[in-house]
Structure formats: structure tokens, C-alpha cells
Point group: C2
Chain length 157, copies 2
């Protein structure tokens, strides 16, 4: 029996993150939640996903602590799926993906959905990685610390 590689014990935080949300649906579901989706049917309609896979993904996201199920809200006997603080902390991830997609997968005038500041209606500024003092950072300015090999159990991921 060959088991799939897991990254949930990786010493790299990116690995542990990818282990949970590294698939085609999770981040789209989270995006819908940021956009106000709460009910199963809302997710299903707006995503166009099959019910079984939506069901499975939602369960996985709940297990991962990204969503929580609240018994009801309007009185109907059904559940609602609500982002936890951990799930809400995915906001920068989703925004970063959005901006990357905007920059590289759309022709200049091509219609697209956009993220606006609710308070003044302006488009979101480019998300920049910043150093502690606020300076913008790029990959060349950064270095990844390696964990003490004696304590690390496995390779990088």
C-alpha cells in the first residue's frame, strides 16, 4: 500500500498549509464564504460543484477548523457554514491569489470580478510583502531559515 505524502508534519509552514488547502476546491469555497455564502445550497449554486464533492470538502474544512457549523440562523432546520477566525485568516491568501490571477490571466479589458473597499468603493491596492518596518520586500530580499537538522525529522516540504 503506497501512501500519499503528507506535509502536516513539515517544518515549513507552507507545507502544512498546502496539506490542508492544496486542492482545487477549498480556496474557492473559502472565497465564496468571504463573499457571504453560508448555506450548502448557496455554495453549490455559485460554485457549480457536485453536491457530493462539496459535502466532502466542507466536512474536511470543518475538520480542519476553517469552517464551523452553526445549527441554524433563520429557523430552518439546516446548518450554516461559517468561517472561524482561522478561516478568516485566509483572507490574505485569497487576495494574493486574486491579484496574481488578475495580473496574469486577464486581458486588459476582459470582464472580471473585483474586490472593492466597501467603505469607499475603491479597488484594492496591490498586496505587497513588507518587512517589519514597512518596506516592500521581494524574493531576492529574503532568505529561508533552515531548521536545525538534528531536530528536523524530514526533508524540506
Amino acid at each position: 500500500m503506497v501512501e500519499r505524502t503528507r506535509f502536516d508534519d513539515s517544518e515549513c509552514p507552507v507545507g502544512r498549509s498546502v496539506d490542508v488547502i492544496g486542492d482545487r476546491w477549498s480556496l474557492l469555497i473559502v472565497r465564496e464564504a468571504f463573499d457571504g455564502c453560508r448555506r450548502f445550497g448557496e455554495f453549490q449554486r455559485s460554485l457549480g460543484a457536485a453536491k457530493n464533492i462539496l459535502s466532502a470538502r466542507l466536512r474536511a474544512l470543518v475538520d480542519a477548523g476553517i469552517f464551523e457549523v452553526t445549527p441554524a440562523s433563520d429557523g430552518s432546520a439546516y446548518r450554516e457554514y461559517q468561517l472561524t477566525p482561522k478561516g478568516r485568516d485566509l483572507f490574505p491568501v485569497v487576495v494574493a491569489l486574486r491579484q496574481w490571477g488578475e495580473a496574469h490571466f486577464f486581458a486588459p479589458g476582459e470582464p472580471r470580478s473585483e474586490l472593492l473597499d466597501r467603505r469607499d468603493g475603491r479597488r484594492l491596492d496591490a498586496l505587497r510583502v513588507r518587512a517589519a518596518d514597512g518596506r516592500p520586500l521581494d524574493p531576492d530580499d529574503t532568505v529561508v531559515t533552515k531548521v536545525d537538522p538534528a531536530r528536523a525529522q524530514r526533508a524540506m516540504p
Copy 2:
């Protein structure tokens, strides 16, 4: 024949992004590249991935314009895989994932790899989503524009 749902014509930039890098390996490969990996063997050793899958993923990433193959660099007859500008633009995505993972998958003292500012050795500040004027933004402050339904061909993703 049942075909897998594609998001590459979605009107949402997040969908198009996920369509390309929404899997378990792509972003880890990109992360290694930010960390200096260039050669097939380097990726393979540090990721611990099987060669065939690394090969397939690298090819897909090259096809997507995220990596480019440069014929050589040190004289050996082999290729090197280098991030294109489009690939380098994934830096905020990787950093956002890293910070999310740090915040939610590590115990306080648990050893982990970290991203440091090469110039002064300080840890990276928290990545924040900012409005055009620099104010931090959170999900509650944002709203997603819907594309004109007449022009949109499909549902949200």
C-alpha cells in the same frame, strides 16, 4: 466521458489562479525556487517527491509560464528551471500561505523554517491586505463585484 471542471475561463481571478496552482505540489516547487533551487535534482531532494511527478509538475509549470527552462548555466548539459516574472509574482501567495501556516499549525516553541529579511536578518512582518491608501483591510471591509450577468458565461468560480 466526464470532464473535470475547469476554472480557466472563470470571471473570478481566484478561479483562474487555482486552476493552475491548485494542487499539492505546485506551490511547494515554487517555494523551493524562491529558496534557490534551480536543478531537477535539487527540487527532488529537498521536496522528496518522486521523479515522475516532479517531472510532470515542472512541465506543467513551464507550460503555464511560471518557470522557464534555461539550457544550462554551469556548463553541464542539463536544464535549469528558473522562475519567470509571472512565477516571481507568486511571492505574496507563498508568503501568505507561510504566515497562515505559522499562525495556525505550529505550537509556540515548535521548530520551523522562517522567512528573514536578507538585509537585516529580521523576521518578516505580518502580511496585511491594504486598501489603496495603505489602510489595513479585512474581509468585512470588502465586497466582490459581480460581473454583468449578460456577459458572464458561467457561475462564479
